[in-house]
Each structure stands twice: as structure tokens, then as C-alpha cells.
């Protein structure tokens, strides 16, 4: 944390009323009969130099949000302002130029690296796209990039299959860094790694952030990891933001009943701390026909009549903590 109050920080990315509805075809004539409302009208801001995490369980829309920002899927509506320019209004070629500034690291490092390319080819390709460094200097730059992510210069001509999972993720990070991006979206970037390796990669991400003044949008289901890496945390449930707060207030005093249940559900590796557990009943409802009113009301232990009919909006508890719950408002 920089010590600046959030309103003094400069916004890097502003997401406004983003919706991502995927059509479902059906019936005799294959018409669109319904939509999967994967992301349903969400707004948030990422400030320069911070790490904002999106957490939530499968189907909450956290990965869809990341993909929509990068326009890997075209969003249904809304705007995504990156340094004030709307990414969603850009042409394909303008967007291609913007991609330098917005890089992504995926969960499965093996699937996102071309198995037939060596490390120097993978990183060289990224440098060629960016085309700032002359071709004869690129090998030096690749070695420099490898040193940033803790790989040795002699590994430059190896292929992805010769690396372990953690090392492959380091290559993915080096590829993202090659573009000298402003924002890196980490989509479950450490979820596939064993804890001992995960810790190495998390430490690396943190030190690179300091070194290169990076901004991260960190998408994860693992609240321990999120607590470690984030400045602010956004909790999603069934396509909606239910709570967004700075790390300390979210983990110390979660306000939304879903956030509370989520935090209490995680087993703590400590036999002396047996915490009170809130066990939610049932499964997450389908995003095709989400519950009316507050989407969480079907599983919420405190739900009242109003929750079934009225959608709660995000209200500010204080400058850095917003929550979408009728009961907190009162």
C-alpha cells in the first residue's frame, strides 16, 4: 500500500456496468431461448500500482470479467476505460495496439505455451510484436527477462515440456513482462501449482510489481492467496459484485453474509483454532435463471422478504468498503 487515500490514486482501469450474457440456443428452430448471465452489470475501478483481486466460486463470473476486459469474449454491454479510453469502443486494430499494455497470465501454463517453440522463440515473438528493441539486441533482452523471473540464461533454448509447472508459469510471466505492460490480469495464475511452488511464484509476482510498478487484476478462488497478494478485494456471486473492500476490512470484518460464509468455510491449517463455521445449504443456483432480488437470498441464513424482491445496490460503509446487502444498509 502506498499510504495514499484511495481518492488520491489515479484510476488505471474503470469498468462500468459490464454485462456478459451468453446466448443459449434451443427449440425447434434453434433460436436464442435464454441467456447465461455470467456477468450482470458490474462496475469497479483498479488504481495504478495496486492489486485488485476478484474472488468467488465457480460460475460467479470472475474469469468471464477478466476475459471481457481483454475482449477475449465480446461483452454484451458496458464500458471498460483504460487510462480514460474505452476498450470496448475500439476497433480490432486499435485493440491490438492496446494489448501491449494489458497482459494476461492463465492458470494452465502448459496449455498457453506453444509446445513447438523454445523459450527464446516464445519471448522473441512477444518482442517482435512490440518491436521496440532491434532484432540483434533481442537475445540479450530475453536473457534479462529470464533473470527477472528466476530462470537461468542457459535455459533459453529449451522447450516448454522440459520445464516443471512452476517454471512454465515463470515463462508465462516473462512473456507478459516482455510487453512492458501496465496491467497484468492473472487468471487463477497459481491455482495449478503445489503450495511450495505457488509460494515461489507469488513472491516473484510481488517483487516484479515493486520493480516495474505493475498493476494486477488477480482472479482466484483461493482466499489465502488473495489475502497475501491483494490491496483490495472484490467478492462476486452469480455474476454480481457482493462486496468490495480493502484487504484489511474485508478479512477482518466481512459484511456480506456470503463473504462471511466463504471465509468461514476455509479450513485453517491450525488445530488450536477451531472456528465457528457457517455451512451454506444447497448449491449455487443456475446463472440462466438467477434468483430474483438478492441473488444470494436462496442460501442466505439471514434472508428476509425484501431480499426476495429487491436487488440490493452497492452501498459504501466507508471510503474503502462497499457491500450489496439490504441488511447491512439498515
Amino acid at each position: 500500500m502506498t499510504g495514499l487515500a484511495p481518492n488520491e490514486k489515479k484510476p488505471l482501469l474503470q469498468v462500468n456496468n459490464l454485462k456478459q450474457h451468453f446466448p443459449i440456443k434451443g427449440g425447434i428452430f434453434g433460436r436464442t431461448v435464454n441467456h447465461v448471465k455470467a456477468v450482470d452489470d458490474i462496475s469497479f475501478t483498479i488504481f495504478e500500482g495496486e492489486t485488485l483481486s476478484i474472488v468467488g466460486e465457480s460460475g460467479c463470473g470472475k474469469s468471464t470479467t477478466g476475459r471481457a476486459i481483454l475482449r477475449l469474449d465480446e461483452p454484451t454491454s458496458g464500458s471498460v476505460l483504460f487510462e480514460g479510453k474505452d476498450l470496448l469502443a475500439m476497433s480490432k486494430s486499435q485493440m491490438r495496439d492496446m494489448r501491449k499494455d494489458l497482459q494476461v497470465i492463465f492458470q494452465d501454463p502448459f496449455a498457453s505455451l506453444n509446445p513447438r517453440q523454445s523459450v527464446s522463440q516464445i519471448l522473441g515473438e512477444a518482442l517482435a510484436i512490440q518491436n521496440v528493441i532491434p532484432a540483434n539486441k533481442r537475445r540479450e533482452r530475453i536473457i534479462e527477462l529470464l533473470s527477472y523471473v528466476g530462470l537461468r540464461p542457459d535455459q533459453i533454448d529449451r522447450f516448454p515440456h522440459e520445464f516443471s509447472g512452476g517454471q512454465r508459469q515463470r515463462i508465462g510471466i516473462a512473456r507478459a513482462l516482455a510487453m512492458q505492460p501496465k496491467l497484468i490480469i492473472c487468471d487463477e495464475a497459481v491455482s495449478a501449482l503445489d503450495v511450495s511452488i505457488q509460494a515461489q511464484v507469488l513472491n516473484l509476482l510481488k517483487s516484479l510489481q515493486r520493480q516495474f510498478k505493475l498493476t494486477y487484476l488477480f482472479i482466484s478462488h483461493d482466499l489465502g492467496v488473495v489475502r497475501h497478494i491483494s490491496d483490495r478485494v472484490m467478492v462476486m456471486y452469480l455474476g454480481k459484485v457482493v462486496e468490495i473492500a480493502d484487504k484489511k476490512s474485508l478479512f477482518d470484518s466481512p459484511k456480506h453474509p456470503y463473504t462471511q460464509a466463504l471465509l468461514s468455510a476455509i479450513p485453517v491449517p491450525d488445530v488450536t483454532k477451531k472456528q465457528e463455521r457457517i455451512i451454506l445449504r444447497g448449491d449455487v443456483p443456475s446463472p440462466i435463471n438467477p434468483p430474483t432480488g438478492c441473488r444470494f437470498h436462496t442460501r442466505c441464513p439471514y434472508a428476509v422478504e425484501r431480499c426476495k424482491t429487491e436487488v440490493p445496490g452497492l452501498t459504501s460503509l466507508h471510503s474503502t468498503h462497499q457491500v450489496a446487502c439490504h441488511l447491512v444498509e439498515q
Binding site: I24, G26, G27, I28, F29, G30
Partner: protein, 306 residues
């Protein structure tokens, strides 16, 4: 599932119209004037013109097509130039033999192919597996007329076990069905093997083992039903080749089926019969495809989800 069937049946209407159009256009493109052919050599221009009016050949192509479609839907496929009998009746007289042959062959394809494939998959890399795969490779490569003649030579001429040619009793069916089904059986065997090998690696097979089930129950109950999906697709495709193959096999074994009818009609330039025969064969193929899709859907219910 019901909605899906209705949708597929509706989708068949344009497909059938397309089939009729293609058959119609082929006949338009065949060199020679049917009226001249019908009238015979040395006929007067007046006779030819008369015939042309009778057959409606003097009308625009679009009108002819419209008439042809309405005729087809009322079961009128024209009259054979050779026998003067309605083409529809000629075809119906020949169709049963061909359908019998096709069903027997597809039976050979499925049963022989799947049994060989399952043995191969469950005993991977064993001598049985290697033998089956070599035979299957030969089965794919051998031309059916060669296989047909060889079978006749050994089983009929040398061993006197089965009739040389003709149609009528179950004994007549065996050799043609094997000849026609062998190629498909080889392909099905290879597909069954690879599909089974894929399925036995799945997590639910491990679950079945952990339940304490015997190997045979695991293979035939838990694995086979899941392995069927790609096999059905291959069998469906084989049916197309099989219809084409009947032409050859019916000739080799002198069976009076649809295939031979068409071949003879081509030789005699009996165009209405060729047209009708091709049309009926195409319609059968379209319906078999539909059946395959429905079966595919039935065995792969997970598709319904999306």
C-alpha cells in the same frame, strides 16, 4: 429429445428437395434428348415433337422441376423406357433384396468389427491384438470384388458349402454379406479398439474397479456403452459406402437388387429408372443418417445440456 426429432425431421425437407434437384439436374445435363431416344432411330420430327409435348419437355426447366417434385411426392417416378412398367414398381420389386443384403452386411460390420475391436482393446499389444489389427488393415485395403470372387472360389467352387450366386435362402446371403461388410468391419474394429482404449482410461472405469466389479462386467457394461458414440458415427458413414458397394456385390453374386437394376438401366440408357433408383438410394441414405444422429444423441445425452 422429442423437440430434437421434430427439428431434425423438419430439417430433412430442404435436404430432400436438394437431393431431388441434384438428381433432376444430372438428368438435364446428360447428353442426348430423351424424346429422340424414346422415338427411336429414324423417327420423324413430328413424332419427336409429339413425345416432347407428352413428356412436358418443351416447358421451361423450372416448370419441369416443379412437375418432377410433385410427381415424386405422389410416388410417380415415370415409366421405364425398356419395360414400359412404372419405375416405382420396378424399384419396389428389386428393393427388398438390396435391403436384406444391406442389413446383413451392416450386421457383419457391427458384430465382427466390434467383437474384434473389443478383443484387441482388452488385450492391447497381445498376439491377438496384433493379428486382428493386421487383418483389419487388409480388410480396409482389399477391393470387394476381389474378396467376393475369392470367397466364391473357396467356399462355393472348392468346398461346395455355399451357393455360387443367386438369392432366396439364408445360404445365399452369407457370402455377399461378408463381402460387402468386411471393409466396414475392419474400420469399425479399429474405431472400437481406439474408442475402448480411450474409455478404459477414464475415471469412472477406475470407480467401477474400486467397486469390486469383474473385468467382463467393467468392459461390457461400463466401458462399451460409453465407447459406442464414435462407433455409431463410423457405422453411419459405412452405410453410405455400403449402398455404393451393393452395385458391385450384386453384380458379382448375380443378385437382382436395386444396384444391379441401376447398372443395367445405365447400360440400356433407361434414364427414368436411373433417376428413380438414384433418388430412392439417396432418400434411404438421408434417413439412415437421421437414425445415426438420433442414436448418437441418445447415447450422448450430455449434448442436451448445452
Amino acid at each position: 429429445m422429442f423437440v430434437y426429432m421434430i427439428r431434425r425431421l423438419l430439417q430433412m425437407i430442404p435436404v430432400l428437395l436438394g437431393v431431388i434437384l441434384v438428381v433432376f439436374l444430372i438428368m438435364q445435363m446428360v447428353p442426348g434428348d430423351p424424346a429422340v431416344l424414346l422415338a427411336g432411330e429414324g423417327a420423324s420430327a413430328e413424332t419427336i415433337a409429339n413425345i416432347r409435348t407428352q413428356l412436358g419437355l418443351d416447358q421451361p426447366v423450372m416448370v419441369q422441376y416443379f412437375h418432377y417434385v410433385t410427381d415424386v411426392f405422389t410416388g410417380d417416378l415415370g415409366t421405364s423406357l425398356r419395360s414400359n412398367l412404372p419405375v416405382f414398381d420396378e424399384i419396389m420389386a428389386r428393393l427388398p433384396a438390396t435391403i436384406e443384403l444391406a442389413i446383413a452386411s451392416i450386421f457383419v460390420t457391427i458384430v465382427l468389427g466390434m467383437i474384434a475391436g473389443i478383443i484387441s482393446a482388452t488385450k492391447q499389444y497381445s498376439a491377438a491384438d496384433i493379428t486382428i489389427m493386421i487383418v483389419a488393415l487388409l480388410g480396409v485395403s482389399l477391393p470387394s470384388f476381389w474378396l467376393g470372387l475369392s470367397l466364391i472360389y473357396y467356399f462355393s467352387v472348392k468346398l461346395h458349402l455355399l451357393p455360387v450366386a443367386g438369392w432366396g435362402t439364408w445360404k445365399h446371403v452369407i457370402l455377399p454379406a461378408i463381402t460387402l461388410g468386411a471393409g466396414g468391419a475392419a474400420i469399425v474394429a479399429r474405431m472400437t479398439r481406439s474408442s475402448m482404449l480411450d474409455v478404459v482410461r477414464q475415471d469412472y472405469i477406475r470407480t467401477a474397479k474400486a467397486k469390486g466389479l469383474r473385468e467382463t462386467v467393467i468392459v461390457y457394461k461400463h466401458a462399451l456403452k460409453n465407447a459406442l458414440i464414435p462407433i455409431i458415427t463410423v457405422v453411419g458413414l459405412q452405410f453410405g459406402y455400403l449402398l455404393g458397394g451393393t452395385v458391385l456385390v450384386e453384380s458379382v453374386y448375380a443378385i437382382n437388387g436395386l444396384g444391379r437394376l441401376i447398372v443395367d438401366a445405365i447400360r440400356m440408357r433407361d434414364l427414368p429408372v436411373v433417376q428413380g433408383g438414384v433418388l430412392i438410394a439417396s432418400i434411404i441414405f438421408v434417413f439412415v443418417n437421421l437414425l445415426v444422429d438420433v442414436l448418437y444423441r441418445y447415447f450422448n445425452k450430455r449434448i442436451d445440456l448445452n
